[in-house]
Amino acid sequence: MITLLLITIPLCLGLISFLIRNDFLRRVLIILCSSLHLALACAAWGTWGGPQGEGWFVFDSTGLVFLLITSLLFFGAALYGIQYLAAESRSSGEEKGKRRFFSHEAVFSGCFLLFLSTMTVVIASQHLAVLWVGIEATTLASAPLIYFHRTKRSLEATWKYLLICSVGIAVALLGVFFLAVAYNHQGEMILRLMIVNAGAIHIPWLKAAFLLLFVGYGTKMGLAPFHTWLPDAHSEAPSVISALLSGALLNCAFLGILRGYQVCVAAGIQSYCQDIFVVFGLVSLVFAAVFILGQKDYKRMLAYSSVEHMGIITLRVGLGHNAVFGALVNMLGHSLTKAGLFFVAGNILSHFGTKKISEIQGILSGKTRWSGVLWMAGFLLITGTPPSGIFLGKFIILKEILSQGRYGAASIFLAMLAIIFIGMARIFMMMTLGVSGQKGSRDDDGHRALGGRTGVPALFFILVMVLGVYFPSWLRLVLEGVARELGGF
């Protein structure tokens, strides 16, 4: 029941908000819907007693973790987003009354809520074909969000996002069909039934299916070398949307891969999949390091940092054992921190009016000092400095690589982390230190709006730091359960 509500409430409210003409009413609707979603998600955690029923939409423990992250991020994004929308409509002047329905903002709010609904479908679905439908639907719901600013650059980014992801996801559809052939007509592809009947699965088809699923969903997840849409979409989308793409959407795509992986683990070809995970994880790290070093655009830098973290998470799942637990901790930490960083980036962008690193100096001084403090804090957290939750994850992974004797992988891992740290440190230092040139900064009216927009990222950063210091036992229990499902321990 809760599961269905989680999907249908944002769906219905999203469709309704396409037709609402009053800006204020629509913003209230966004807040209402995302708080309801968060409340229901918490209720789903509270009442959860193991996966029940054989339906298409059932939360298992993996789903619950993803649900928590997504719901929390959407709540934060809604709080930040309405202030963002208010500021946007103020600065773009009064163009209201021109179009009755489907105004800019109506499309934005509608797609925003549909995006939440489709993401919940992905997380809840136990049927692998329905999962595919959900992931494709997230692409379609989020494409108009990326095009919010209606500039040429955002249009280009939208086109690349649509085409590259659609083709990637089509590849995954072929993978789903392969999986069905491997399962050989034993009925519908319900995940738990497939795991139970894993002995009867035909292995060569399953291997091919996993490869296709990995490449297909990996495109959406932003694993190098299929990540090419990612920096464009993240840099051109409004910062709220970048935060959601990076913190929630990439995870959901990863969930698609993990579902396939669960079947493979049950069928006994875990080591075959693990090699794929490790190779692509390391390749993503290398790509991210290379592109962060010479980066000139701070939102693109954050995007490449997402590629890095997706690489690390993939690498971890590939290593197995303890590292899977670390992967989940890292995922949690990355989602919150990166979303927070994108929110701060949005503040910086609306103050300085540029995305070029070289034109920004001295965020720490002057009126933007709180954004500056958060910007530096976010940098330290995302690169895994203690007490960040990410540090915990990174520590576990290194221990695991070394204990498995993979010294080559360990040295690549460490070298790339060092390069990324240096590359990002350079950029963050250049931006925060120095004296703020008043060039491009906007009037005081913009600042007041900015003041309220530091709360959400601050909250997220505090959560991440708390996770690094105190890891609640209920969360640990659930995460350990998930790690076992994903072939860890």
Partner: protein, 219 residues
């Protein structure tokens, strides 16, 4: 019955080659539509004598979508963009045709490696569906106009659908319809995006969409 299935699958293959060699976008849209209808009715033809209601409904919707709705959407986008011909693709048309043959060979090779099951409806089904899939990918990579890339996406989808039609039963109607709905919305959103691209840029050449890129070494 089997000869009919074989005949239709060969027709799908020939349409691939036609697609690769034609430069007029109008005819490309028509070819994609005919191919879509062919793979749409295939599941019904395969089970002609004992067809259940599920496949017939799914096939009905897919024929409506691929035969009527998609061509209509694409023709509208074409009109909006005011273009008629694709510019010379990467490598030229003879190269495209050659690639078509190579991709068919690849399809054969791949299905020889994978297939284990016994008597199939048609031995041609797997190679042709893979070849169609590859053709779609090749079209997306080699053609310049945004609209041709959407057509490539449709061809790719046809290949996957052909595979599903021959190898899969047992999935519920609802799932099939949901997949169709997704593809419909995808083409719809792409159509709208093409409309915006042609309005903002005065062209729909994706090769000229190059504002966003990274330069690795800073100069």
């Amino acid at each position: 019955m089997n000869t009919w299935v074989d005949f239709m699958i060969v027709a799908v293959l020939l349409l691939n080659l036609m697609m690769l060699s034609s430069s007029r976008i109008r005819s490309c849209i028509q070819i994609a539509a005919v191919q879509g209808v062919l793979v749409g009715v295939l599941p019904v033809v395969i089970e002609l004598h004992h067809a259940a209601s599920g496949p017939i409904i799914a096939s009905f919707f897919s024929v409506i979508l691929k035969g009527i709705v998609f061509p209509w959407l694409l023709f509208r986008a074409l009109q909006e963009a005011g273009i008629r011909k694709e510019v010379e693709p990467i490598g030229g048309y003879p190269f495209s045709l050659l690639m078509g043959v190579v991709m068919f060979a690849m399809g054969f090779w791949l299905s020889r490696r994978l297939l284990h099951t016994g008597p199939l409806v048609s031995t041609l089904a797997a190679p042709v569906s893979f070849a169609t899939f590859f053709t779609g990918v090749f079209l997306i990579i080699s053609r310049m106009k945004a609209i041709s890339q959407v057509i490539g996406y449709l061809i790719l989808e046809n290949g996957i659908y052909l595979f599903g039609a021959v190898f899969l039963g047992g999935q519920s109607l609802l799932v099939e319809l949901a997949i169709l709905l997704d593809i419909f919305v995808a083409v719809f959103v792409m159509g709208i995006t093409i409309f915006h691209i042609s309005r903002q840029f005065d062209h729909i050449d994706t090769q000229k969409l190059t504002e966003l890129k990274d330069i690795v070494i800073s100069k």
